[in-house]
């Protein structure tokens, strides 16, 4: 898991890494063209049930890729958390899909297939590509008038196993079996519509289908890595960094990044609500420890220059939260050194006197009593820059390896 995704920019340089994408593109174009997708008439035949090629190629590709992806993830070769899963904007997606379906039957291509049509000299593909560019242009000009709809029904990274509340293995297995059954049906429909006997499938097709079902069954049996498994992979390195105190950043470093426009700092306050209400740092997001796991997915969507800082009264709960987020592959997570208690000691000297001290307190309890829920209205929630003690050991190293923040259509 440690080497996923490949650090292409480190290996080949910024523009050099794009060569890899170009090679992937060439392979993509070659498969599309050899599948017959450069030919609009063949594509459109799908919608008259004459040649269900579009459906067959697409679903074969989906079940093969899906099975390999989740098999690799089950074996720890690939980190699903770092894979780009298009976020769900349900209604814009459905309306956009319907418009595209209409465009498909009128125009005979989709954007990817029109590119290989164009490459092989299909004049209708030229017209189509110009149409696509015009459509994209019109979208850019008009999206402002329906921005609310465009951003509506956002559900984030939302997957089918989450929707049906079941395991990834089961969904993979069911989709593979269902697709194979639909292929059998598609062959019968084609024969019926064209009034001919069913085409004989090549000899390898049945063993290949069997092998795919077997692989999907393996995915189902092994299961996806649990949080515990994920932690085990990074445990040694992570515990060492905790021991070296390489991830506990001082309040001074925290304040420096808070004022740095190049860095987006997100303080994650993982304490109980009563503590959070009594006092928290300005801008702190309240995520109780038991909700950190669920929050991890959302944090993956933050831009690459984001630094997350977990905060508890001392460091115990913050360290737990740090471990959870580490296991979920959230990049750039740090712990506030000394927690809220250390913070108050540094910045609330005048307003919190001896009479506010809590003695004989337990680990990770608040060391000061607040008479009311001051939240972030307390002066120490946002110390003035005069307080900045610039002397600190810098620990934050921005790690750019993270989940891609855009997919193929970004």
């Amino acid at each position: 898991m440690a080497n996923f995704p490949l650090p292409l920019a480190d290996l080949f340089g910024h523009w050099g890494s794009y060569v890899v994408y170009a090679v992937i593109g060439i392979a993509f174009g070659m498969t599309l063209e050899s599948a017959g997708f450069g030919n609009s008439k063949l594509l459109a035949a799908q919608f008259y049930f004459k040649d269900m090629r579009v459906f067959k190629v697409m679903f074969t590709a989906i079940i093969v890729a899906m099975t390999l992806i989740f098999l690799s993830s089950a074996l720890g070769l690939l980190d699903y958390n770092l894979i780009w899963v298009p976020p769900t904007y349900l209604w814009p997606g459905i309306v956009g899909g319907l418009i595209m379906g209409v465009g498909f039957i009128i125009g005979g291509f989709c954007p990817g297939t029109s590119l290989v049509g164009l490459a092989t000299g299909k004049l209708d593909a030229f017209a189509f590509v110009f149409g696509v560019l015009f459509g994209i242009y019109m979208f850019g000009e008009t999206v402002g008038s329906f921005a609310t709809f465009f951003d509506s029904s956002f559900m984030g990274r939302f997957t089918l196993p989450e929707l049906f509340n079941t395991s990834y293995g089961l969904i993979v297995f069911v989709i593979v079996v269902a697709a194979l059954m639909i292929f059998v049906l598609a062959e019968k429909v084609e024969a019926m519509v064209n009034d001919r006997p069913q085409q004989k499938l090549p000899g390898w097709s049945k063993p290949a289908a069997g092998a795919l079902v077997a692989l999907a069954a393996v995915v189902l049996v092994i299961g996806q890595p649990s949080s515990e498994d994920r932690w085990q992979v990074v445990a040694d390195e992570s515990l060492a960094r905790l021991d070296e105190r390489a991830v506990q950043i001082s309040s001074a470093e925290f304040l420096k990044y808070r004022d740095d426009t190049k860095i987006k700092i997100i303080p994650l306050d993982v304490r109980e609500e009563r503590y959070y209400n009594q006092f928290h740092l300005r801008g702190a997001v309240h995520v109780p420890l038991d909700q950190v796991q669920a929050k991890a997915k959302e944090l993956q969507f933050e831009p690459a220059n984001t630094v997350f800082v977990t905060i508890s009264n001392d460091e115990t709960a913050a360290t737990e939260a740090w471990k959870i987020l580490r296991a979920e592959s959230v990049p750039n997570i740090y712990i506030l050194e000394g927690g809220i208690n250390g913070w108050l000691k540094s910045y609330a000297g005048d307003s919190l006197g001896e009479e506010n001290r809590v003695y004989n307190r337990q680990e990770d309890q608040l060391a000061y009593k607040f008479k009311s829920a001051t939240g972030s209205r307390h002066p120490a929630a946002e110390p003035s820059p005069d307080h900045l003690d610039l002397d600190y050991e810098p620990k934050v190293i921005l790690e750019l390896k993270r989940a891609p923040t855009s997919g193929g259509c970004g």
Partner: protein, 174 residues
């Protein structure tokens, strides 16, 4: 170019699908992102717009993200993937001896009508792809393989839209 008589047949769809699936898997395995097409076209368009009328880019929030200030809209992996796709189609077309200037259509409509409809269909595709935040490659294929709920809903919507209107456009294709 005029070698269509010796054109090799297209691959068996299940074999082509398997190869496409392997390419898609490798794209995810190597880069963490899937495949796409409309995003590359989008950025090429924005590049041209930026060259022609940079003030306009700065007024439209949607375009600003890609080409505002000094950011180069071509500085994105998806652009190179898209260029690669065109070359891949060219290579495969040459190997299969399928290079030919032609217009694919049903026998009942003229070339001009076909081109006009291709443009209209393309415009709808481009518009819909931006609205849905992805096309058949980026959303349906890539998002489908990684089990995104939105991608599956999108995929069914595309098929539904096409089948719903197929009857009215039957003369264009048959």
């Amino acid at each position: 170019m005029n070698q269509v008589s010796r054109a090799r047949p297209y691959l068996n769809p299940y074999l082509a699908g398997t190869l496409l699936g392997i390419v898609l898997f490798l794209a995810f395995f190597i880069t963490g992102s899937g495949l796409g097409a409309s995003g590359g076209l989008n950025r090429l368009l924005v590049y041209v717009q930026n060259a022609v009328n940079p003030e306009h880019i700065d007024q439209v929030a949607y375009l600003l993200k890609m080409a505002g200030g000094n950011s180069n809209p071509l500085d994105s992996w998806i652009v190179f993937l898209t260029i690669g796709t065109v070359f891949g189609g060219l290579i495969s077309g040459l190997l299969g001896r399928r290079m030919k200037f032609e217009t694919n259509k049903g026998p009942q409509i003229s070339n001009g009508t076909r081109w006009f409809l291709a443009f209209i269909g393309g415009a709808l595709m481009g518009y819909g792809a931006r609205l849905a935040r992805g096309c058949t490659s980026g959303q349906a294929l890539s998002g489908g393989a990684v089990l995104s709920v939105g991608s599956w809903a999108f995929m069914f919507a595309v098929f539904a839209g096409a089948y719903a209107l197929a009857y009215f456009f039957r003369k264009c294709w048959n």
